[in-house]
Every structure is written in C-alpha cells, then in structure tokens.
C-alpha cells in the first residue's frame, strides 16, 4: 500500500499551527509565503534573534524543497501538483518546528541519509569549518545551489533536526525533515 500523504499531512497539522501548505512549490509561492510569515512572526515572536533564526531556517527549507523535489512520473490522476511538496510550521511550547515533505527517488535516499547523519554527528566547530570549506571551494550546482542548505540549518539550530523516509513505491519515497528552532 502507498504511504498515505493526506493522513501524514493531517498528522503534521496537529498542535499550534502557524502555517501549513500542501501543493506546488514555486518561486512565487516562496516569495508569498516569506512575506506572509515575516508579518506573522513579527506579531508572534518578541525575541528578534529567534525570529531571524526561524526565518533563515524557513528560507533554506523552502529553497531546499524548491531545488530538490523529485516529481512523480505520472501526475495525470491529478492527485499531486507538479513539484509537489508539503511544509508546516508549528509551535511546540518554546520551540518552533519547520517540517517539510517531498518525493525523492529511492536511489537518492542512501546518499542523503549519509549526509544527514554526518551533519548531525558534527560538532559546532566542525560544521563551521565544513561550511567555510564548501563555501570557498564549491562551484554552483546546475540547480543554482551550493549544497550548503543542510549545513547552514544544522549550524543555526545546533543540529536540532530529525528525518524520515517513507516508502511510497518501487521508485519513490516521501522524505520528511523536521527542524527545531
């Protein structure tokens, strides 16, 4: 049986939801969301440094989604929009959680998992060194990224991140990443 994305989305939508979205992830959408959330965070959060951290994590999460979503080959049944992704921002007590979800081709799981585990196991100084090393040596990828998004978020949140890969079919899985600010 397929992994049930609707059920998963409703589960994500529990607790104190600040913003939730399910659908096509485009550049325009990101612009709109960032504008809306900027105003909302201004009202919600008193401490400016937390607001900035959350906003930064949000930018990187949304742009990671934008750059790395894999499209299911056949969306003609209309179930999923092109460039389909999910993101939800919730408040859990004093913390904020940014969750994203997207399809990923199964062969990409292991490399991504390795990368996430490596980043999660690094100390703050190691992350800082790795960040600088990549910044100084890497060229832009074809997608226009530099492969720094995950490292940047881990650095800012002191590695407060969790992930999950849910099997969807022989070719695709649904990748979920939670980042706590």
């Amino acid at each position: 049986m397929h992994f049930d994305i609707d059920q998963y989305y409703s589960r994500m939508n529990s607790g104190e939801v600040i913003l939730a979205y399910k659908g096509s992830i485009s550049s325009e959408l990101i612009t709109n969301v960032l504008e809306v959330i900027d105003a909302k965070l201004e009202d919600l959060i008193i401490k400016k440094s937390i607001k900035k951290k959350l906003y930064n994590v949000l930018v990187e999460s949304l742009q990671n989604l934008y750059h790395h979503i894999d499209d299911l080959p056949d969306t003609s049944d209309g179930k999923f929009d092109v460039h389909f992704g999910i993101f939800v921002i919730t408040r859990e007590g004093e913390r904020y959680k940014v969750s994203t979800g997207n399809f990923i081709r199964n062969e990409k799981i292991q490399p991504l998992k390795d990368r996430l585990d490596r980043v999660k196991a690094m100390t703050k100084d190691e992350l800082k060194d790795l960040y600088k090393q990549i910044l100084n040596n890497q060229d832009f990828t074809q997608k226009g990224g530099v492969g720094l998004g995950l490292i940047d978020m881990a650095k800012r949140t002191d590695r407060q991140m969790a992930y999950q890969f849910n099997h969807y079919n022989e070719e695709y899985s649904f990748f979920n990443l939670d980042i706590y600010v």
């Binding site: 990101i30 960032l34 400016k48 900035k52 930018v59 742009q63 934008y66 100084n136 530099v146 998004g149």
Partner: protein, 126 residues
C-alpha cells in the same frame, strides 16, 4: 564608468556602487532561489572598476538575511575586493549586524577568515 543603483525587493538587496568616491553598499535581504543572475552585473562592475579604482574603496554590507545561494556570490564580491587590496589599493569593509544577531556576526567573521582583508564589525543598536 557608470555607477550602479539597484532598488531592494523582497528577495534581493539594495545595491549602490559609485566609481567616483569608491563607495559600495549592499543593504537588505538577499534570499533569491538563484542568486547568480542577480549578482552577475555586480561582479562584472567590480572587474571593470578594478582596472582604474579609486584610491580608497569602502564597502558597507548591511544584510538582514542572506541565504546559502547568496553566500557564494557575496564571497565572490569579497574576493574581488581582496585582489583590489593585493594590488595595493586601500579597501575598507564594514560589516553591519543587528544587536543580538550572533549568526550574522559569525557570518562576517567567516568571510573575514577566508579572505585576507580585515573587516570592521559594526553593531547596530535599536
């Protein structure tokens, strides 16, 4: 050569580059999905400027947010300034950060450690 003046948008910063007085300003948010396009004219301008620069170049960077895509382009700008300094020109880099924004201060320190030009760290107090 011409000066550059670009207005800020929700995703890109205000840019001012004046060859007459050698003052360069980058201010606001730099969070486009793909920053190469936005920064290309700025890098090209710096290449042209380096041929006949002002005796002193002052760069004011006052960013509220920047994403990882921009971080690479910003480093490219600093590298141009590093070359300018190596060619025996005076280069002053002022890195502004808001009070309590330790991430932004740290970013400035990261850039400073990569290029060999000292930064002046300036805290903006509300």
């Amino acid at each position: 050569m011409e000066s550059i003046s670009i207005e800020a948008t929700t995703k890109t910063p205000e840019i001012k580059m004046n060859p007459e007085d050698g003052v360069i300003e980058i201010k606001g948010r730099s969070i486009p999905e793909n920053s190469i396009e936005f920064y290309r004219p700025i890098i090209e301008w710096l290449d042209e400027y380096a041929k006949n620069p002002n005796k002193k170049t002052t760069v004011n960077v006052q960013l509220e947010y920047f994403n990882t895509s921009s971080s690479k382009c910003i480093l490219d700008i600093f590298k141009k300034l590093e070359s300018l300094k190596r060619a025996r020109n005076e280069v002053v880099i002022n890195w502004y950060y808001e009070e309590d924004d330790e991430d932004m201060l740290e970013s400035g320190e990261d850039y400073e450690s990569i290029i060999r030009v000292p930064f002046k760290m300036i805290e903006i107090v509300d």
